[in-house]
Symmetry: C2
Subunit: 275 residues, 2 copies
């Protein structure tokens, strides 16, 4: 049941995103590069979370669709720029060539810039102006120089101990995941205590996502580096941390009552994910 | 008199920008790279235009300061990314090392991303939520994949004839210059006909700025390439175009009455600029 609801929500998101991209009046090559990155088989974790949070507090997800799109546009731009030769220098992502490989480096830089800029147009589509203004601020705090970009700077500089690792991951991936859920709740007019519960649960979920990421990476890679919890802790310790974090997320979301059941189920889905 | 007012407005802008940057909670190296680019001796044409437009329609510039900052943040990010090795590959700008030379390429990419993101936080500082929402949309249209970024794509692809050159320049530099002025008028609650007059004049001013840019470049460079009006037209033709464009800009702004005198004087300043 919860899985069906998740599938329906992600399907609505894909349709909304397709319609949005269809209206963009961008140069063909720029649009092709942006589409290559955006419709590249991502799991849509952040949009799903935004829409599930909206359902959990208001029983409807529609008004949160522009926000879900904005967050995914930001996530996509960050991957395009992170993959660049001057950054992580990755040739492939999800089994396909990265944007600068499929196109070229200049186009990838510009496609990232355009995706980031467009995210704010999506936020501005939210009907209520005060909500839109608030969400612009939230998105900047999560994505900008004190959020995701700061995390990327810390990642490049390297993290020496688990405290620095967690701080880096809270900024690099946690901030946007938390904002995705929080903004979903705000977009549907959630009360302050509901928004706080969503934020608290999503903060744990962001960490959980990173822990499972490290566990999945470890199944493929030879030796986890300093960016992995498995470099700093034993597997049993990481597993215990995973369960503790999942429990904290379920607890925060569960307090919202029956409407939050799919959101609680989403926590389990992330905790047990295999991709 | 008009020059004194311009100096006062730019001084207010610098103080506002300094105070804004002082509050940014960014990693030191990221902030240093952003400051290097932002406080790099730019002429502040776009902020000046935003504030002069606000003065022209409402007799006050203060409420337009966040908008002026937003536009200059976008302009700055675009220079940082344009200078990258994969783009124009410039080592110097205004006699100083470009951002990726003074720091490194990854830091320059990230500083550009953070500056662009921050621009929207500045817009969201505008007190009236409906105005802020409208200005977010305006900034995306001017700066994004259908505006400045599209112009950069066209510039990289190369322009073959003067029609394509003008179309490229309208997007690459004209769109943000026009939006700077239009947003300044909107930020102070300008009426629709006032905003339209500002937009019309600023469109001409954007072209004028580009024409004078080409003339100044030609004084230094050996041979103007296809990106210059002097590649496509004789010097006399370019001079005639300059005067025609300046006259059109003065005409549009002049219709706003006495308050627009400094804005009209700004047109002359651009037309006769030597740097």
């Amino acid at each position: 049941m919860a899985d069906v609801q998740l599938k329906v929500l992600v399907g609505r998101f894909e349709a909304y995103a397709e319609a949005y991209f269809a209206e963009l009046d961008w140069p063909p090559r720029l649009l092709a590069a942006a589409r290559h990155a955006f419709f590249g088989g991502g799991k849509r974790v952040r949009p799903a979370l935004a829409l599930l949070a909206a359902e959990a507090v208001a029983g409807l997800a529609g008004p949160a669709l522009p926000w879900a799109l904005a967050v995914e546009l930001v996530h996509t731009y960050s991957l395009v720029h992170d993959d660049l030769p001057a950054m992580d220098d990755d040739d492939e992502r999800r089994g396909r060539p990265t944007c600068h490989k499929a196109f070229d480096e200049a186009t990838a830089i510009l496609a990232g810039d355009a995706l980031l800029t467009e995210a704010f147009a999506a936020v501005a589509r939210i009907g209520d102006a005060m909500t839109a203004q608030r969400l612009v601020g939230l998105l900047v705090r999560a994505a900008g120089g004190a959020g995701m970009v700061a995390g990327q700077v810390a990642d490049i500089a390297g993290v020496g101990d688990p405290v620095a690792l967690e701080a880096m991951q809270r900024q690099k991936t946690g901030a946007l995941i938390t904002a995705a859920a929080e903004g979903g709740a705000i977009a549907v007019g959630g009360e302050a205590d509901e928004v706080a519960a969503i934020r608290a649960g999503a903060r744990e979920l962001g960490l959980l996502f990173q822990i499972t990421d490290d566990l999945l990476d470890a199944e493929q890679d030879a030796e986890p580096d300093g960016r992995s919890y498995l470099h700093h802790f034993s597997r049993a310790e990481v597993q215990a941390r995973l369960e503790r974090t999942a429990e904290a997320a379920r607890g925060a979301f569960g307090g919202l009552g029956a409407r939050a059941t799919p959101l609680v189920a989403f926590v389990d889905r992330i905790a047990h994910r295999t991709v």
